[in-house]
Amino acid sequence: MVVTATAAGEETLLEQVASGDREAFGTLVRPHLSGLLAFAVRVAPDHAAGEDALQDVLSQAFQTLQRKPADQLSQLDIRPWLFRSVINRLRRMGRQRREVPVGLSLEAGHSPDAEETAGRRALLSVVDAELRKLPRDWRAAILLRHHAGYPPEEIAQILDRPSGTIKAWIHRGTRRVRAALPDDIVEGGYQ
């Protein structure tokens, strides 16, 4: 779970960013980067494309924030706004080149957790691979729900689709992933 800046702290930072302060921009977005990157690399056709998309989004966000009047800045919720920018950029990239599904690009054991068992890692890599087989927007909805922790109504705003559609994507997509897993797993996997 990421630690998010408090709303008040975020507001002051936004003002500094608006005056072109790069350090402040870094401080503003850093708490969200890990979650955004986890999202971007799984929704994008591959890891590199996901990183690329997120960097474009950050560069664009920095430009946008500098041209904002204070009243608009105070109303901005930075985290969902960035998620929304990431998905929109990936959608545009998807239209520009054919999406070629590739295998899992996150290396297993990339940052191994000492407490994680091999069985659990294997299970997670199956989940990751099954997510890849879903349509991009389903995958995005599921990650926003279960990884980023947004309720369906907010996902509807981020993905710009009706909340009924979002719920259906999450339900059907999650069911497909479940079907690919062994029957006897319990919460937390094989522990």
């Binding site: 790069r22 921009f25 870094g26 977005v29 850093r30 980067l33 890990s34 979650g35 990157l37 986890a38 690399v41 799984r42 997120l54 960097q55 474009d56 950050l58 560069s59 664009q60 920095f62 430009q63 946008t64 904002k68 800045l73 109303q75 901005l76 706004w81 929304r84 920018s85 929109n88 950029r89 959608r91 545009r92 996150l106 990339h110 940052s111 997670l124 989940v127 990751d128 997510l131 599921i142 990650l143 279960h146 990884h147 922790g149 109504e153 509807a156 689709r161 009706p162 909340s163 009924g164 559609t165 339900h171 999650t174 069911r175 992933v177 479940r178 319990v186 919460e187 937390g188 996997g189």
Partner: protein
């Protein structure tokens, strides 16, 4: 899928690895020159009783949004590959929007639908002709465009209407008179817009329903 299965999946997906972020990630991002491919795109704001209407235009309207914040609208313009630029609307666009919101005519200004599919264009054309104060069902629109079995696809096409309010997708509701979804902020916003247009919308167990 049982409830406990949902919990298992929730825990597993939540535990998926977040890739490590290199220390200079933001720094490298900010070094990137940001050049929108499409050049500048102007947009204007119109204050309506149901919220601010944002409209992006050149010689045609490309995008609109009702409610929300200008910064989100600018983000959507950037996502289309343009640099947003706040501007005054040309007189012809103002006149067209005035006539629309006063119910004197349909939106009489070009809308750029070139990026949309043929089916969606047909749906939006049919929807554009629905007068203020009236509603149609998804299936009626499907019949009108000669695709009677495609009521559901009509719903999807309208959910992706790039120009809400201007092409009044809020005037298309379910056959049982339940409002149905509205991508511009949910059925509550749809209810607010229809009430503003003089439609009697009630709250019932099924949701917002036209009386």
């Amino acid at each position: 899928m049982s409830g406990s299965d949902t919990d298992v999946l929730h825990a597993l997906i939540g535990a998926l690895e977040a890739p490590s972020v290199k220390a200079d990630f933001v720094g490298r991002a900010l070094e990137r020159p940001f050049k929108p491919a499409g050049g500048r795109l102007r947009y204007a704001e119109f204050l309506l009783p149901v919220g601010t209407l944002f409209v992006a235009f050149d010689d045609a309207v490309l995008l609109s949004q009702v409610g929300g914040h200008g910064i989100n609208f600018e983000g959507r313009i950037l996502d289309m590959g343009y640099q947003p630029s706040r501007a005054d609307a040309p007189a012809a666009l103002r006149t067209a929007i005035d006539a629309l919101v006063e119910g004197r005519s349909r939106f009489d200004y070009p809308v750029d639908t070139g990026r949309l599919g043929k089916f969606q264009r047909r749906v939006l054309d049919a929807t554009r002709a629905i007068p203020r104060g009236q509603v149609r069902s998804y299936s009626a629109v499907a019949v009108q465009i000669g695709a009677p079995a495609a009521a559901r696809a009509v719903g999807t096409a309208l959910a992706r209407n790039p120009v809400p309010i201007l092409i009044p997708c809020h005037r298309v509701v379910r056959t049982d008179r339940v409002l149905g979804e509205y991508s511009g902020g949910g059925s509550e916003v749809k209810a607010r817009i229809l009430r503003w247009e003089g439609i009697d919308v009630r709250v019932q167990r099924a949701g917002f329903v036209i009386a």
